[in-house]
């Protein structure tokens, strides 16, 4: 491999995976060419600069492609435990309910990895619980929220912890987090109507719950039932 060929291949060192022959040829070339080695090192340092702080470990020391291989090995190592956990989770998700969209109602302004961490935290929340009637999704929202969904629209005067009329097969409950934290229903602010967002609950084929918040003019703001 000469310098021109190296430059054509150097991007591959930053790909998710790389074939061993290309990697070996690049390594051999860098061992004999300080300029190409310096060029690659600068690219690698820049690549590391673009990594969020909490994901930087290992980036400086390994090529991204090689790091991906290392991570996949770790995944294989833990896959058995993961499968056991998956079976347990699958048992809970009896109806195959999928939370494809995030349910957090007003997540805080934070950076991407923080969001990711919160999503994970949310996924670990006990959103489903088994009752005599099946599964329930706990939904908590703020006082005065205009609730609109497949079951009609109304202003909820008091915070509730579960939706009483979700038209699903079985009874579902979900949890809404505010700023990444579970809302305390005993200590909710009484917001003015101007600050209230509409909450839409849509059910796709009775399986997927999506909560969409958009601004709304509350009709009949003085009437808690909008009549």
């Amino acid at each position: 491999m000469n310098c021109k060929e190296f430059k054509e291949k150097v991007a591959d060192l930053f790909d998710k995976t790389i074939d061993m022959q290309t990697e070996r040829e690049c390594k051999e070339h860098m061992a004999h060419c300080p300029a190409c080695k310096a060029y690659y090192d600068e690219l690698r340092e820049t690549y590391a600069l673009l990594q969020p702080e909490d994901e930087k470990e290992g980036v400086d020391d390994e090529k991204p492609a090689m790091k991906a291989v290392a991570n996949s090995s770790l995944f294989t190592l833990h896959s058995s435990l993961f499968k056991v956990a998956s079976i347990f989770i699958a048992a809970i998700f009896l109806t195959g309910l999928s939370f494809a969209a995030g349910l957090s109602y007003a997540t805080h302004r934070s950076q991407a990895t923080k969001q990711e961490a919160k999503s994970q935290e949310f996924a670990n929340e006990k959103m489903l619980e088994l009752t005599d009637n099946g599964e329930r999704i706990v939904i908590t929202w703020l006082k005065g929220t205009w609730i609109e969904g497949d079951f009609g629209g109304y202003i909820e005067a008091d915070p509730i912890e579960h939706s009483p009329a979700l038209p699903l097969n079985g009874e579902y409950r979900a949890t809404i987090l505010l700023n990444g934290r579970r809302i305390n229903p005993d200590n909710l602010p009484d917001l003015p109507a101007s600050a209230v967002n509409k909450m839409e609950i849509r059910f796709a084929a009775g399986r997927i719950v999506n909560l969409i918040t958009t601004p709304v003019e509350i009709p009949y703001a003085d009437d808690p039932y909008g009549e």
Binding site: D15, A35, T46, A101, G102, T107, Q115, I212
Partner: protein, 176 residues
């Protein structure tokens, strides 16, 4: 359901759930506001969900790539302002943000966003899809409908420009 699509709701939900961290992270670095990122992610899902139920919809060959492609389009539309819905976030009224604020992470996020804004958008887009979307160059080529060499060169040029901007080093590439 369109037989050509051969994508079921279950498959869509499964892939979306599995890829959600990467989709969200990509969107967060694409849009200026993490709340917007959550919104476009939801819009993307709804769009795809309705698309797979369309009788004569477009054939979907690779659902994961299609997800990213749709998300990128929704982000672009969002940025154009046509579909931007102004909201009054409840957390602006409820002072709970301080309890969870993480200024160091915010600084880190802003630092990276600033680096990406200093290079041409087409190069930043490839970098975002590669690093934050965790896509391979081949996947990015499919998502952006670009030749693979173009994707790789945009990635390298982007890194080189960022390097120049950060340290002022003369990254001329290879002169040997």
């Amino acid at each position: 359901m369109n037989k050509e699509n051969e994508v079921t709701e279950e498959e869509l939900a499964k892939v979306f759930k599995a890829e959600r961290p990467h989709l969200l992270r990509y969107a967060c670095y694409r849009l200026p506001d993490s709340e917007d990122a959550e919104d476009v992610l939801q819009e993307t899902y709804l769009k795809l969900h309705s698309r797979i139920q369309t009788p004569h919809g477009q054939k979907i060959q690779n659902l994961r790539n299609y997800l990213f492609r749709t998300l990128a389009n929704v982000c672009a539309k969002w940025q154009s302002g046509n579909s931007r819905i102004k909201t009054v976030p409840l957390d602006a009224k409820v002072d709970l943000a301080d309890a969870t604020a993480d200024t160091s992470n915010d600084d880190d996020y802003k630092r990276i966003v600033k680096l990406l804004t200093e290079i041409p958008e087409e190069q930043a887009e490839v970098i975002r899809l590669r690093i934050y979307g965790d896509n391979s160059f081949a996947q990015i080529a499919e998502i952006l409908s670009l030749p693979l060499p173009t994707v790789k060169s945009r990635f390298l040029y982007g890194l080189e420009k960022i390097r120049k901007g950060v340290k002022g080093l003369n990254v001329k590439g290879l002169n040997c």
